[in-house]
Structures are given as C-alpha cells and as structure tokens.
C-alpha cells in the first residue's frame, strides 16, 4: 500500500458526471492493477446524482490510493475535469479513465515498463470497444493496425496514421512532467477537446512508444436512443460540426507552426474520407437550415485543402466533397446514397471523350471535370444484373390505412435500359430475417424518360402482406425490375420524403402480437416497414410476450431454442461429417459402378475428369456418375441430373456418401484431405497441369513442416492409386515431389488434351482451322483473329497490366482478345468493346477456348504446355518474372530460356509481339515443337480411351486390382 506521501508510479484521473452507479467499477479497475503503485484521482464534474458522495466514500475506504475532487460548477465537457485532475495528480505518469469504462488490469505495468525501457514521454496502447448490448459483448479493437507490435517513434510523423486516427486521450500514458513542461491542457468550451489535446501531445513528445497490449476497455452501446447519445455522438446540432472545424483549424495552425506539412496532408485526406462522410450520411435527415450552415462551414474549411489531396481520395468521397462545396443538393443526394451504398450505381452518368462523369453539371470547369471523373469505379463495365441502379421514391400516398400508392424512378445508367426494352417488374416486400416470406406487388406502369425510368405501384399492404407476427418485425422493400431478359433488384431510397401513414397488419399467429405496419427508413436510407403494436390488445399482448420471454418461463425456452440451433449448426460442421464418413458411411458396401468425378475442387465441369466421363458415355459403359460442384448451385455447364448421373454439392451429405461407397474416384486436384479412401476404391488422379513452379515437398513451406504434418499430407497423397502424367518431366517433378512410387504412374497423357491433338491433326489434314460452335456461343465473328490471354493466378491482384481499351484501339479492327483471368482479379472490360475484347473467365472449360485461339498470351500458367500441342504461336507476357521465379518457391526450369515464343515484359512489347503474330511471323516454330515434345510426349490423343480401356473396358476388373499395390 502506498502512503500518502510517496510518489505513486501512475495517477489515473477518473472523471465522472452523473454516473454514481458505474464509478466504483472504474475505480476498482485502478485498484486492481497488477502494478501496485497506482492512485485514482476522481474528479466529479458537479454531478447531481450523488456521484461525488460515492467518490468520497471510495476515498475514505482506500486512503492514500483514492482521492476525490469536485468542480464548483458543471463544465459540460471532459476537458475541465481532466485539467483539474492533472493539477491534483502526484504520480510520475498520468492516465485518463472515464467513469463508465475500465482499465485492463496490466495496463499500468505495461505502460510504465514501455516508458522506462524506451524513455518515451508518451506511451499509447490498444483501446477495445465493447458493445454491452450485444449478445456476446462484441469487442472491436480501436485501430488495431496501429497496435500490431512494440515500436518507438522519435517523431509522430514517422507514423502519420497514429496522428490522424488515434485521437483519443484515454488509451495513453503521459509522463506528468512532460505535460507540465509543455503546459498541455484540454481546451475549454469546445467539443472534441481530445482531438486537439492528442495532437498537441503527439507533436510535443520527443519520443512515443506504442504497445500492442490492450490497455483500455471502452464500453459502448450499439443502439442508442437519441437523447442518450454521449455529447460528441450527437451530430444533429450544428455546434457539433462547427466545434470540430474549429478544432481542426487549431491543429492546422499548430502543424503550420511546426512545419509538418506531411502530417497536414494526411489529416486533410482523413477529413475528406472520414469526417465529411460521417456528417453526410445523416445529411438527408436534417432541415434546410442545418444543411446550409453545414455547407457554409465545410466550404470554408475545404477551401484550405489543396486539390491534389482530393485526387488521392476515392471517387465517392471526392464527388461528395465537391458537390457539397457547390451546394448542389440535387446531385449531392444521389452521391450520399452512393456513399451509404458503395455498390450502387447512383446516377445516369455522363460519358465524354471516353471518360465517365458523375453528372453533366460543372463539366465546363476544369476542376469540376477533375472532381467528378468516376471512370476508375468501372460503372461502364457493369451489366444490368451487376448494377444496383439507384431507385428513388418520388411520391408516397397512403390510401385509407390499408394501402399506399407510390411512384419512383430508377436511373438509366449509361443507357443500360434501352428505349425499346421490354420492361416488367414488381415490388417485393421481404422479411429481413433470412428464409422467411416474401410478398410481391405488381408495378402498374413504366415510363421511359431517357435518363430515368419512372414507375408506379400500389401496395395493398394490409390485405396482401401476412407477417407471422413474432420473428419478422422488419420488412424490406425491393424493386424487381426486368429489362428484356435481364433482371436487377435495387432497394428504394427514401432521401428526404416524409413517410406518413400507419397500416393495419394481420399477423398469421395472432393479432395479439402486433396490429400495425409502419413505414420506416433503414440504416442505409431505404424504405422498410416495421411491425408494431398500437391498439390496447396488441400492445398488451406484445408486452406480455416480451416480459414472459425475459422472465423465468422464457429463459429455458430460449436456452432450448439455442440448443436446437447449435445442434443444427453442429450437424453441418465438417468435423461431424468427417466423423460419420469414417465411422458409418465407409462401412457400407462399395457400390459397383459408382464413379465420383470432380474437377478443380468442384469449381468446373471440365478438364480430364470430364474427358474421361464423356469417353465413358460415348462407349456406353454402364456406370453411375456423381459430379461434385462447389457453391450453392452447380456452375454453368454441369450435366443435367438424370437416372445415371447425379450432381452433388461438395462437402454435402450426399457427396460424402457417394465418396464413401464409390468404386472409383476421378479428379484432377484432390478430394478433401480429411477423408480417408477405403482400399476397395480406386483413385485415378489425372492432375491439372505440368509444373513450372515447385510443387509438393519441393516447396519450402511443406519441407519445413514438422514430421507429423508431413506424414498427414503424405497420407492424403498416398490415396492416389494412379497418377496420370503426360511427360517424363511430370515424373521428375510432380511424382517425385509428391513422393509417389513408380507403380502408380500412368503414362497415357492428359485426357483433356485429346481434343487438342485431334484438332491439330484435323488442321494438318485439311489445312483449315475450324472455329466450331464456341465462336458462335461467344458471339465472335469466325473470320477474326483470336488471341487468348490466360495469366496464372496470383496471390496479390496486380494493377492493370493489359489495357483492353488500348488493345481494341490498336487491333480491334480484325482481332479479338479473349481474357481469362481469375474471379478475384478480373479485368473490367468495358461494354463498348463488345466483340473486340471478351471476358471468358466464366466459361466453364478452358480446353475449347484453347482450340479456338489463334495465339496464346500467358505468363506461367500450365496452359502453355497444353497449347503447345496445337503448334500455334505463343507469347509469354512475364512482367513479374523475377518476382515470380525468385520467390522462395522457385521454378523447375528457367522459362526465360525455354519459352517457345517471344518473352516480353511490357505492354508495348506485348503489342508488338501480337502484331508479329498477326502478320504471320513465326520465328519460334521449331523451338515450340521441341517444347511440345519435351512436355507432351505421351499426349497422343488416346489418353481418355486408354484409361477407359484399362479400367472400364471389357478386360478391366482383373487387371486394375493387381495394379493397386
């Protein structure tokens, strides 16, 4: 225990205003600190609820550890009490704590240790927001990314994000003499005093230490009624904003004085990205006076921010700030809608000189064009189905308490809705809780007005909508709009429209639960209905029910409901499934003739498994096929389920059941590693490509694994009974890297490549290249030259490396570029390039595309080995070869030397190489043939046939069993 005379290590200044109830908890968190030499200095801001008496009682109870003070009159802020606390504090270090929060128990020890070890004047740690009104007390770390590790800053400019974002004063520990020497106090009479205080402290400190430890527990509520909102959360008073601007001005002055222009820039950027949007989100709810004052204040302040800071913002923030300065309300409202719903297409948009602009206004001005350019968002690449077209409610006329007539308009962005299009639609009212009912109301008329489509409908909501009454309190409204054969489903933005009227509701369960539906505006600003109880019977009934549920009857009910839900979740959990698979399913007899197919982990119906499957069908082999797919429904191209073919979801019960009982597994990547294969099942692993990059145990990460993990992986690999190879290169690389015995190697070539070998043969024979049905399917003129760009998958999506517009400009006349990328990193292909650049990422199987292409552009993808069989030109666009090959993983051979075609690193070089291909230059023909025979020696066009002969042909059965050892 510390005596009153000695100097404590830390004084924690606990401020309180009318919070007698929680104050003891806060003080206890100080007393319980693992660092013992800590005192609590309570400062009461002249409370009226007896907080000061509680404080005095604590002081009496813990003499020498707790002291209590009171301000003579209420200061309406946090600054004054803290200033008083500093004046009274005795500790070497000082921390601040609010009466409704707590310190983490090791906070003081960690702070002091860091301060002493580093000599820092200011130590900052992690604050955690804890939502006390959520079921599991949800925790949200405050700017975790700043607090990942211990670090020391000699100048806050080394970490501008700290200065800009973490502007609290409560998660910090200050050396007291540092505060006194620099005369740091909280400013009086302004909100956001923390912001200025932390800025002053950061700038004054010669050394700042950051620790990743949690130090502060910041208790919050998720749902706060307006009156309860803490002082700074009340953004509806203009003073709130004007104070914020004033604080910013003072910080700017300070930065200017210290010459910290870099920090100023970061702060400006944050102002545009966070501060302005924070207020704009609530903008539509405010009255015209507030809106005007807000715009005035913003304009003045924004004028101090240079334009090139705007350029760094995302378009949405730039557009909002600019329209705000211009007080262009008509265009600002859609911009705010976009801010609140980033996936929306908010405006009809304007195209000029190949650029897309937010609106037609302000474009005669150069600054306006700069601010309103939204080309980079890629609206132009979205189809109707991919666009969420802003749909605005125009009028709202309640009819006799049962129905409401509404009109609205939907933006026609960049002409997505043609004048002559067939329009159809309905309004859908859907319970927000998943899996419940939906009700539809027809749209009675459409009017196409160029930039907008106007529509009207009557929701006879009382008669049609029948809620359950218990779990479906909130109902969202969507417009389901059909344009010819495409559909889009936007919600209805309310903007500033007044929604009046109350509608009778007839719950299916009982009208004692609820009797009215009231319109409301959802958080993102959309129309919704809420089920309420207004009449005496209903409000009593509902009240009774809620009392019951929170009382002694409710708790066991809720508990068992939770248990049922948990059991349902457990049943779907992978562990449970794997358990059943091993303990029960694999003990059932094997089903003769059951073959399970999978390609690329169920993502496609493609590749060698498909080729084998189709060969078996062609031969009329009697078998029962099961194809697996990834996702909730089979992707494009999967076979129609029928009497001898099933299509099952990967990891579903039927999938596991099929795998457990199958006679054959055929796939190209790997069935779930956790599933053992029973010895009676034969696993034919066709694999999905020869290797350039190191694989399996040739990869450092697998090599580094401890033995038990390596054994686990090896066990999964040992499930393969046969491993298909197309070249001895595969045997030297894949087979060795997966540590497979020679007896498992199946030297037949890839079944998927049979088609390519056949195509090549046909071409040599007839001297003609057949386009086949694929060209038609993709809408490509068969007379054009077709180039396929198929790069490999990268962990990090690269920035645009091939500009489709530039391609079309140079080659668009007679050449089409097919782009096959990965879902995560697809190029945005503008619709204006139709027929010139085609995104074929969604095309289920790549083999037909290879057959279609007159030339291939790739980097390191294994399609190079397959395409070589066609003996057509290849270009290697390896703009990041050093990075790729030099990375820890390494390659099996140097592509730069082996590449049978131009090896280029810039778009310029690539285009020149394509030019060469178009002109028929083919300098690498010989090299390519050598490449094809080196990497495809077994690809002779009979791979599928050989496999089917061997395993499913007349002589099978006897033979394959012997091969298994």
């Amino acid at each position: 225990m510390i005596s009153a005379l000695s100097t404590p290590d830390v004084s924690v200044i606990v401020i309180v205003f009318n919070d007698a109830e929680r104050l003891p908890r806060a003080v206890q968190s100080v007393l319980d600190q693992t660092l013992h030499s800590v005192e609590a200095v309570i400062v009461d801001d002249c409370s009226t609820d007896g907080s000061f008496e509680v404080a005095q009682r604590l002081a009496a109870q813990y003499p020498g550890r707790v002291r209590a003070f009171q301000l003579p009159e209420n200061s309406k802020g946090c600054g004054e009490p803290r200033n008083r606390g500093i004046a009274e504090a005795l500790g070497t270090y000082v921390m601040y704590l609010d009466s409704d929060d707590e310190l983490e128990l090791n906070a003081c020890r960690n702070m002091v240790e860091a301060a002493e070890r580093t000599g820092a004047e200011l130590v900052s740690g992690l604050s955690t927001q804890i939502y006390i009104d959520t079921r599991n007390q949800r925790e949200q770390p405050w700017y975790r990314w700043l607090y990942q590790r211990h670090q020391v800053l000699e100048d806050v400019a080394e970490l501008p994000d700290l200065f800009v974002f973490d502007t609290l004063s409560t998660n910090m520990c200050y050396r007291r003499d540092f505060l006194l020497d620099n005369k740091l106090t909280f400013v009086k009479g302004l909100l956001y005093e923390d912001l200025l205080y932390s800025a002053q402290a950061y700038l004054a400190a010669d050394r700042i230490a950051l620790i990743p430890n949690q130090v502060y527990k910041w208790y919050m509520r998720q749902n706060v009624a307006k009156a309860d909102k803490s002082i700074t959360n009340r953004r509806d008073e203009i003073r709130n904003f004007s104070d914020r601007i004033e604080i910013h001005r003072r910080i700017d002055a300070l930065l200017a004085e210290k010459g910290k222009t870099g920090l100023r820039r970061h702060k400006d950027l944050k102002f545009l990205k966070h501060d302005i949007p924070l207020y704009l989100r609530e903008f539509p709810q405010h009255g015209p006076k507030w809106q005007h004052q807000f715009a005035e204040l913003s304009r003045e302040y924004l004028a101090t921010i240079p334009y090139d800071v705007f350029d760094e913002c995302q378009p949405v923030h730039r557009v909002c700030a600019y329209l705000l300065i211009k007080e262009d309300w008509a265009n600002l409202l859609p911009a705010i809608d976009w801010l609140r719903n980033p996936r929306k297409t908010p405006m009809p948009l304007v195209e000029r000189d190949g650029r897309i602009y937010f609106c037609a206004e302000h474009l005669d001005d150069e600054v306006g064009r700069r601010m309103l350019d939204v080309t980079e968002v890629g609206f132009q690449a979205r189809s109707l189905g991919e666009s969420m077209l802003r749909t605005q409610l125009l009028s709202w006329e309640p009819q006799d308490g049962n129905a409401v007539r509404i009109t609205g308009r939907t933006v026609n962005a960049l002409g997505l809705i043609p004048q002559k299009a067939q329009l159809s639609g309905r309004l859908e009212v859907k319970a927000r809780r998943k899996g419940l009912q939906t009700f539809s109301f027809p749209v009675t008329s459409f009017t196409h007005q160029g930039d907008y489509v106007e529509w009207e409908s009557t929701l006879d909501i009382s008669r049609t909508l029948r809620p359950l009454g218990l779990v479906d309190t909130i109902w969202d409204v969507w417009l389901n709009l059909g344009v010819d054969k495409q559909r889009t489903r936007p919600p209805l933005s309310v903007d500033q429209l007044d929604l009046d009227g109350v509608f009778a509701a007839r719950p299916r369960l009982t009208r004692l639960l609820a009797d009215r539906l009231e319109p409301e505006v959802s958080r993102p600003g959309h129309l919704a209905f809420q089920l309420t109880a207004v009449g005496p019977a209903a409000s009593k009934g509902r009240g009774l029910l809620f009392d019951l549920m929170s009382g002694p009857v409710g708790s066991p009910l809720k508990r068992s409901a939770k248990r049922v839900l948990q059991a349902r979740r457990d049943l779907g959990a992978a562990d449970t499934k794997v358990g059943w698979y091993h303990r029960a399913m694999t003990r059932m007899p094997v089903k003769k003739g059951l073959v399970v197919f999978e390609s690329h982990l169920g993502k496609q119906y493609s590749d060698s498994p498909r080729a084998i499957y189709e060969e078996m069908r062609r031969r009329g082999v009697p078998f029962h096929a099961v194809w697996s797919y990834e996702g909730t429904k089979p992707p494009k191209g999967f076979p129609k389920p029928g009497k001898d073919v099933e299509v099952v979801e990967r990891w579903s019960w039927p999938y596991l059941y099929a795998l457990a009982r199958a006679e054959y597994w055929i796939d190209n990547q790997g069935y779930p590693l956790a599933l053992r294969k029973r010895p009676e099942t034969t696993y034919i692993q066709t694999w999905h490509g020869s290797a350039l990059k190191r694989m399996g145990f040739d990869m450092a990460e697998y090599r580094m694994q401890p033995r038990h993990k390596q054994d686990e992986y090896q066990q999964a690999l040992d499930r393969f009974d046969h491993f298909v190879v197309r070249t001895e290169h595969d045997v030297d690389t894949l087979v060795r890297a997966y540590r497979l015995p020679e007896s498992k190697v199946l030297r037949v070539g890839y079944p998927r490549n049979d088609a390519l070998v056949a195509a090549r043969r046909e071409e040599v024979l007839t001297g003609k290249r057949e386009r086949g049905p694929v060209a038609k399917e993709l809408g490509i003129d068969p007379a054009r030259t077709i180039v396929l760009y198929a790069p490999t998958f990268r962990e990090k999506a690269p920035e645009l490396v091939l500009d489709p517009v530039a391609f079309a400009e140079r080659f668009g006349e007679d050449t089409t570029l097919l782009v096959r990328s990965h879902y995560m990193q697809r190029l945005a292909v503008p619709r204006t390039l139709k027929g010139k650049v085609v995104d074929v990422t969604d095309y289920p199987d790549i083999t037909p595309l290879l057959g279609l292409a007159d030339a291939l552009v790739t980097d390191y993808s294994s399609v190079m080995f397959d395409y070589a069989l066609l003996d057509r030109p290849m270009v290697f666009y390896a703009y990041d070869y050093e990075e790729y090959a030099g990375a820890a993983r390494g390659t099996y051979f140097d592509l730069r030397e082996a590449a049978p075609g131009p090896f280029v690193e810039t778009q310029e070089q690539l285009f020149d190489a394509i030019e060469g291909v178009r002109n028929g230059a083919d300098a690498d023909a010989e090299k390519r043939r050598a490449f094809a025979s080196r990497f495809g020696e077994y690809d002779e066009g009979r791979a599928a046939a050989q496999i089917v002969d061997r395993f499913f042909g007349p002589a099978a059965g006897t033979q394959q069993k012997g091969q298994q050892a």
Binding site: D9, T34, L35, H36, S37, E104, L105, N106, A107, R109, N110, V112, E113, Q148, R149, H150, I211, P212, N213, Q214, M699, A700, E701, Y702, R703, M704, Q705, P706, R707, K709, A888, G890
Partner: protein, 388 residues
C-alpha cells in the same frame, strides 16, 4: 510490500520445471540461471514436478538445493469415452492417484511459498509444470511463466491452447524475443514480456577459421532439419571443393540421414562426428557454422558459434534466429526450407575468406549483448518491476 529485504540478502527464487534433470535445453538453461542468480546472492531453489526417464548429468555439488515434488510419475488424466471405457476401473483409480499426487505437490509448494521471505519470485519454465503450480496458493509471490520456443512452433502444438489457458494468471509470461511476445499479445495475453537466453560461457580463445570445415551441432532428428541441410550441401559441396561438413550429434533419424547422405553421393564431404562433449573444440575447429532447423526458440548453438567468431548460415525459422543473426552483417540467413538459398549462403561463406573473417569478428562483438551480466541485469529489472 517492502522492497528492502531483497537488496541486502538477495531474494528467494523458485525455478520450477517438469523435472529437475530432464535431458534437454530447458534443464541446461534453468540450471544456468540458477547458478547465475546464486552467484548474485539470491537463494535459489530448483524444483521439478516429477522424475524423468532421460536424466541429464548435472554434476556433483550444485550450489543450490533441488527438490522433486512428486518422485516417480504423475499419472495422466483419464477421460473416459464411450461405454466400454466408462467401465474401466483402472482408469478411475489412475485419476484418484493423480489427484493424490496433485494434493501432495500442492501441500509441498504451499509450505515452500509460505516460508519464503518477502521479495520472493517464482519462475515456471514449462507449460506442463504450470498446470500444477497454478493450483497452489502462492501468497502474492509474483509468478513468471516462460515459453522457450517461438510463437509459430507453439502454434503447431497442444501447448498453444494450454499457454492461452494457464498463463493469463501469471504476472509475466516471458518469450524469447519481442517479436514472439508481440504475437502472443495479439492473442489477447496482456502480461507478456521477453527475456533472451544468456550466453553460457565466454570463450577466451575464438576460432581462427583456418580449417575448411562447416560445422553443425544438433540432434539428428526432424526438428533440426538435417535432411534439408544434406539437400543444401549436395548443391553447395561441388562449389566448395575441399570443404567438409561435420555433423555433431546423434538422434533417432541417424540411419535414415546416413542413407540419404550416401544416396546424394556426399560420403566424401560429410563426416558424422557423433555426440560431442567438447563443443568449444568443435567450434574452434570450424570456419563456418550452419543451422537448418524447422523450429527454434533462441538457439544457443548460434550464440556459441558466434561467440567463437564462427560466421553462421541459417534458416530464418524463428524470431530468435533473426534476433541473433543480423543478416548480411554478422551472418547469413536463408528463407525457411529454401535449400537452394541455404546452399547459396554456404557457398558465399566457404568461397570468401574475407567475408568469413569480417562476419566472424562482427559476430563475436555483437553477440556480447547476450552476456551473462547483461541478461542477469534484465532479470533484476523484471523482479523490481513485478514488485512495484
């Protein structure tokens, strides 16, 4: 609590491990710390939970007492699964024995803690030991827990969950490096600090780096990754004519590794030296040191090699490794598991006398920051902090 007692006559320090004398790094380390603290004037008591099957020879006349809390073995707990197991009487008997053992240990520990003077400290070096120590009433004596391995290595083991479960109660959990400590802090343990291992002896005579020898000292088992070292050496040896790789140590994988060596055609340039009792001799006889481990904490082998002015090449498998070796300054690192890169680093060192000399001398200077005196000072600071 008064702090004066500790200064004059030293503190009572309890160092508690799974066993007093189990063969391995933790035992070496804890007895070294015990010796250092004793020399400083503290009263150290080394405790073990139970006996071990693989005892190390600690030598006669330890300058501090040792106690095994439960001579023999502590039975592992019996968690019946299924009907058949539930009927197993022996299982329940085992649990009863276990509980009796725990009660006995608890009584002994509490008696020791009660008799301790103010200013005492408890250091628990291993997770398993912690499971028992935490049950005893320790009367406000600060408890320091330790984890002698990297965060990543813990993560692949059951110790990860156990550390998270048992260590929040400790006053401090010490990792070997700041980087490891920070990773544990992100797992929401807020009582984490770090303490590097000390260098056991300071050699007066370093290596002259005159032999064409690359040395590796470590058990021949999976963790030390000798299989990867052989792969790397197969690439490096042809570029390092005349050089020999000397492997000191024995272990369960010896036969397998020797077969690999023969298969790679390295019998001419690899020497299997077996376990050595003369580590200084081995290091003085070498010019380059190599480590290819899959996992490490704060590898003593590297510290020792550097103290002998032998430059090291190692896989950067843990924060402890990159903390000790400053890549390119006093040693060379390779990406974990990248045998080609390790081979390249070996070739750089074997082919360049200048580089060897420069890095070797830098290593000897830099590694002094882990001297006994420096580390002991850090312990004293920690004790003081935990008392404030």
């Amino acid at each position: 609590m008064s702090t004066n007692a500790a200064v004059g006559t030293g503190r009572d320090v309890f160092i508690i491990s799974n066993s007093v004398d189990e063969l391995g790094g933790v035992t070496t380390w804890s007895h070294q710390l015990a010796r250092m603290l004793t020399e400083r004037g503290h009263s150290v008591h080394v405790l073990g939970i139970c006996d071990t099957d693989t005892p190390a020879d600690l030598g006669p006349n330890l300058p501090y007492p040792t106690t095994t809390l439960h001579p023999g073995k502590v039975p592992s707990p019996f968690h019946p699964r299924g009907v058949k197991q539930r009927l197993k009487v022996s299982g329940y008997a085992r649990n009863a024995q276990r509980e009796a053992a725990i009660r006995g240990m608890k009584t002994k520990l509490e008696a020791l803690f009660a008799a301790a003077r103010p200013g005492a400290m408890i250091i628990v070096t291993q997770v398993w030991a912690m499971e028992f120590v935490r049950l005893a009433d320790r009367r406000n004596i600060p408890l320091i827990g330790m984890s002698h391995e990297s965060y990543e290595y813990s993560k692949d083991s059951s110790r990860f969950a156990r550390v998270k479960k048992y260590y929040p109660e400790a006053d401090r959990l010490l990792l070997l490096t700041q980087e490891d400590a920070d990773l544990w802090i992100l797992e929401k343990l807020n009582n984490v600090g770090f303490m590097p291992n000390p260098l056991p002896v300071w050699p007066e005579v370093p290596s002259k780096r005159e032999t064409k020898t690359v040395a590796c000292i470590g058990r021949l088992d999976d963790q030390k990754g000798i299989d990867m070292l052989l792969d790397a050496w197969a690439v490096a040896a042809p570029q390092a004519p005349g050089w020999t790789l000397k492997l000191y140590g024995r272990g369960e994988d010896e036969a397998e590794l020797k077969a690999q060596c023969t298969r790679l055609g390295l019998d001419g340039s690899v020497e299997w030296m077996g376990q050595t009792s003369d580590v200084p001799g081995a290091l003085r006889d070498s010019s380059v040191f190599v480590q290819s481990s899959r996992g490490e904490g704060f590898p003593l082998a590297l510290l020792e090699a550097m103290a002998f002015a032998v430059p090291c090449a190692a896989f950067d498998c843990a924060p402890g490794v990159r903390e000790i070796i400053r890549d390119g300054v006093d040693g060379l690192l390779a990406a974990p598991g990248n045998t080609a890169e390790l081979a390249r680093q070996l070739v750089r060192l074997t082919s360049n006398q200048d580089l060897r000399d420069r890095m070797g001398e830098a290593a000897r200077v830099n590694v002094a920051r882990y001297s006994k005196e420096t580390i002991l000072e850090k312990w004293e600071e920690l004790f003081a902090l935990l008392e404030r």
